[in-house]
């Protein structure tokens, strides 16, 4: 018994009819003028891992779908598709975000970094090295998201406490149960960055 969008708007309008006309006027009378996109594909550009990439996508495409299905960057994983698990985490201007909760076109003009972009001149980032050394992964499906959350933390806070690390990955689910080693790896990577 799914209701269509039109039925929903009708029911809202009906309820709205009970609201004084003046407030209704304020709410609905003058929608801001925005360009309508779609239906159908549109052309956009995204800056991913330092490169400008051209894509042709439907406006409803999420950033996660754009990365995986249009740019062949499959490091970020689809797991819950609603921002509840963190497996799709990427950086947007250095901040960790769930790429499943963001439309690709809203990422235009921002700097996007995925797990594929962490290596520098063929060398793994310290956080990646630390994950390997501490065995902070098992099946590995949460790992790219986990690493991106930890890397974003180190970017903002190079000397985190254990509680800082826990808070940074509080939104990253791991079903194999690698959390203790994720904590250890991140603390070790922070020490290494500090002392070289």
């Amino acid at each position: 018994m799914a209701i269509t969008r039109r039925e929903w708007f009708q029911s809202v309008a009906f309820v709205g009819g009970l609201v004084p006309a003046t407030s209704l006027f304020k709410t609905f009378a003058a929608p801001p003028k925005v360009p309508l996109l779609g239906p159908g594909k549109i052309k956009i550009q995204l800056t991913v891992n330092g490169q400008v990439r051209a894509l042709e996508i439907e406006p409803r495409t999420t950033l996660l779908e754009a990365l995986r299905d249009h740019l062949a960057l499959t490091g970020a994983k689809p797991v819950c598709d609603r921002g509840a698990c963190g497996a799709c985490t990427v950086h947007l201007d250095g901040d960790a975000v769930c790429s499943c909760m963001l439309l690709a076109l809203d990422a235009r003009g921002r700097s996007i970094t995925t797990v594929e972009g962490l290596e520098h001149k063929g060398k793994l980032a310290p956080i990646q090295e630390a994950f390997i050394e501490h065995d902070a992964l098992q099946c590995g499906f949460c790992t790219p998201g986990m690493i991106m959350s930890c890397q974003a933390l180190l970017g903002h806070n190079p000397q985190p406490t254990l509680d800082d690390v826990k808070a940074a990955v509080a939104g990253n689910l791991c079903r194999c149960g690698t959390y203790p080693k994720v904590f250890a790896a991140t603390m070790a990577a922070a020490r290494k960055e500090r002392h070289g």
Partner: protein, 709 residues
């Protein structure tokens, strides 16, 4: 000619020499005296660089030219008939290349059952087209919880003659049927009623555990591609060969026409031991579309149809002498595996302690819900939850230390030694723990422990091939999959050790049924099947030649035929809010001679973390009025997060068991068995009342505190 050799078995401070018969061509077992360089060390996973860079390709990540994406339409109702199914509009929708449906009139037994599917050029188009499938439903009465399914006159989920057969029946057991209820009654030793009359102390209690979904992060799914009459299936699986056999049977193909591949997979925990409807749907759609098709479940579908750990309602009676000697055990339990089987919980009751007289009456209650699947030590966390609480009650009643009581009755000598080690590690925390419920203040601390065990399982068809490559490296080949336990690394370590070369010289190829036969990753059998076989192959190759293929390696009488472990939990219980926090878990587990301490530790951590999550948070909730799942997602199906994670001290207890040439046993399953029971015992120590129902949420603590003892 078989040689007789001496081998040293045992653990630190407790070794003995045994004589074994060594067949020709078999290496002598690595024993307590073997000095090894790579095996038993802490070795980083060989595939870790691919996993930390996003380069490891999982089934979700596969992309081929012309790949189609499919979505499955599932029944929203728990019991119904799909009277009419009209695919015409869906078929004509943009991008659609193939459609499939069950025949009209198909009977629906659970919410989420597959009814139709659409393959299109994009997932968005497949989803759009799925909304155009028209179905005329005829709803039927349902029973989704054990209480209503057990009532007289409840709707029958299956007619009695078509109930799925039980998975395991102890020898001599009796099976009875009553509506949706099927009961297996098994006894050990003399009459249990008479034995209870001889008991000096009797402990009796009721317990409940909930349904837990496996929730692997990578949902179930497959990609199917036909080339003529040959079918290739890439799938997220724990059993490449099992899936091959199932697919071959479904499409009436010879085994060699089906190839199943699994390079990387994102967790399974028992739910990915069979192929599933999605794989067959992918293959059917791919055949019709003449193009490869990918079917991956959504998180919602995963919760409904991809398996779960059955719930349980248990009544347990334990009889003992005043000196702690167990004399009798009687269990009555029922639970639901939905339309599947396997709700029994008696495993620990029959195998953990020496009990001369046992009677177990376990019932599967069929309900209109998705089928259960084996879940990390099926039945054991549930059974341990009741048995190990009853043991603590008994210890308190007779005024005996819980460790001493267990040691007196344990079957497994290794486990008794592990209890000593645990007591030593805990020190004053255990020996000077407070009396149950004696603490003061709002937040009370407690400590509790529990034992758990699992069985030694081996796949007898395992074979490993090693080929010397032209560049001087060695390629190790086996068709089994790595489910995240470190199978690739284990194979490389053992081959390198036996061949006397660095690990960089070893290339491992796995996850492909065109390679030699390998085990399903279930029953903690992967390592004990593969480790001796790869060593035997390397041993053979050292005798000369460019390649060697070793079939199943020799099994010897092992020191113990169980793998076990003991865990202690320290908790904080807030008596004002009811919140329980697990502060620390100390665990000692054995897996023979560990191959890789680093990855084995990770498995112990994982088992404990899943156990804490099961004890405190997870719960599949079905609405009994609609029969639909209320929390098919990750925001209301609660899984332990980093913030809830206890500090874990995981120790591996080395046992040279000489059960095979590497002294290897599994470790995946026993690590999650005692956790919930240890937490419940710690809660009792903290507040003086028992938590008899999982998950132990704040409301249960507050209710228990209100109800007193």
């Amino acid at each position: 000619m078989a040689d007789k050799i001496k081998t040293t078995v045992g653990w630190a401070g407790h070794t003995e020499t045994r004589e074994i018969e060594l067949p020709d061509g078999e290496p002598p077992p690595w024993d307590a005296n073997s000095q090894l360089k790579i095996v038993s060390g802490r070795v980083a996973r060989v595939d870790a660089p691919l996993k930390v860079t996003g380069r490891a390709k999982y089934t979700w990540d596969l992309r081929f030219p012309g790949l189609l994406f499919a979505r499955v339409l599932r029944s929203p109702y728990p019991a119904a008939k799909a009277a009419k199914i009209d695919l015409a509009k869906a078929k004509a929708a943009p991008g659609v290349r193939a459609v499939w449906s069950e025949p009209a009139g198909k009977k629906i037994l659970y919410q989420g059952q597959e009814v139709a599917a659409v393959a299109a050029q994009s997932l968005q188009e497949a989803e759009d087209a799925l909304a155009l499938v028209e179905i005329e439903w005829e709803k039927a009465p349902h029973a989704t919880d054990t209480e209503s399914a057990r009532k007289k006159g409840a709707p029958m989920v299956f007619p009695a003659e078509s109930q799925p057969p039980p998975r395991r029946v102890p020898s001599g057991a009796e099976i009875t049927h009553d509506g949706n209820l099927r009961t297996i009654v098994a006894t050990v030793g003399p009459d249990v009623e008479r034995a209870f009359r001889e008991a000096e102390v009797i402990i009796e209690g009721g317990y409940r555990t909930q349904v837990q979904t496996h929730s692997p992060l990578e949902t179930h799914g497959a990609v199917a591609r036909w080339e003529g009459e040959a079918l290739t299936v890439w799938t997220s699986t724990q059993a490449t060969f099992g899936v091959r056999d199932q697919v071959a049977e479904a499409f009436k193909l010879p085994h060699e026409k089906v190839r199943v591949l699994c390079d990387y997979m994102g967790g399974g925990f028992g739910s990915k031991l069979s192929g599933g409807a999605y794989g067959l749907i992918a293959a059917r759609l791919a055949k019709d579309a003449k193009a490869p098709v990918q079917v991956m479940l959504t998180r919602h579908e995963e919760h409904l149809v991809a398996g779960n750990r059955p719930d349980s309602t248990q009544w347990l009676k334990l009889g003992a002498k005043k000196d702690g000697t167990l004399v009798a055990l009687h269990l009555k339990s029922y639970g639901t595996a939905g339309v599947g089987v396997g709700a029994g919980v008696a495993g620990p009751m029959r195998s953990l302690y020496r009990i001369p007289s046992i009677k177990t009456e376990e019932s599967d209650v069929f309900t209109n819900a998705g089928a259960a699947a084996p879940f990390r030590a099926p039945g054991h966390p549930q059974g341990c939850f009741s048995l190990e609480q009853a043991m603590d009650e008994l210890a308190e009643r007779i005024g005996m230390d819980p460790i001493a009581l267990r040691k007196k009755n344990l079957k497994n000598a290794v486990q008794a030694a592990e209890l000593d080690r645990l007591a030593h590690k805990l020190g004053d925390k255990w020996s000077k723990r407070g009396k149950a419920g004696a603490g003061k203040g709002a937040v009370r601390r407690g400590i509790g422990l529990a034992c758990g065990l699992w069985y030694k399982n081996v796949n007898p068809q395992t074979a490993v091939e090693i080929v010397k490559l032209a560049d001087g490296r060695y390629e190790v080949r086996n068709g089994a999959q790595d489910i995240g336990t470190g199978t690739r690394t284990l194979l490389a370590q053992i081959a390198a050790e036996e061949l006397g070369v660095p690990m960089e010289k070893i290339v491992v190829r796995i996850g492909d049924t065109s390679l030699p036969h390998g085990p399903a990753s279930g029953g903690s059998s992967t390592a004990p099947s593969l480790a001796p076989a790869v060593r035997a192959a390397a041993f053979k190759l050292k005798q000369g030649g460019k390649s060697a293929n070793a079939p199943r390696a020799k099994e010897y009488d092992a020191l113990e035929d169980q793998i076990g472990g003991v865990q202690a939990a320290e908790v904080e219980v807030d008596t004002e809010t009811g919140q329980v926090r697990v502060v620390r878990v100390t665990a000692i587990h054995d897996c023979g001679r560990p191959i890789n301490r680093l990855t084995s530790e990770s498995q112990i951590n994982g088992g404990i973390i899943q156990g804490v999550s099961y004890a405190l948070f997870e719960n599949r909730v079905l609405d009994r009025n609609t029969g639909q799942m209320c929390n098919p997602n990750f925001e209301s199906y609660k899984i332990l997060t980093a913030n809830d994670c206890p500090e874990i001290d995981a120790e591996i207890f080395d046992v040279a068991n000489a059960g095979n040439n590497t002294s290897t046993a599994g470790i995946g399953e026993p690590t999650t068995v005692p956790t919930a029971a240890a937490i419940a015992n710690a809660i009792y120590n903290a507040i003086g009342v028992r938590a008899r129902e999982l998950p132990i949420g704040p409301e249960k603590i507050l209710a228990a505190l209100r109800g007193g003892k």
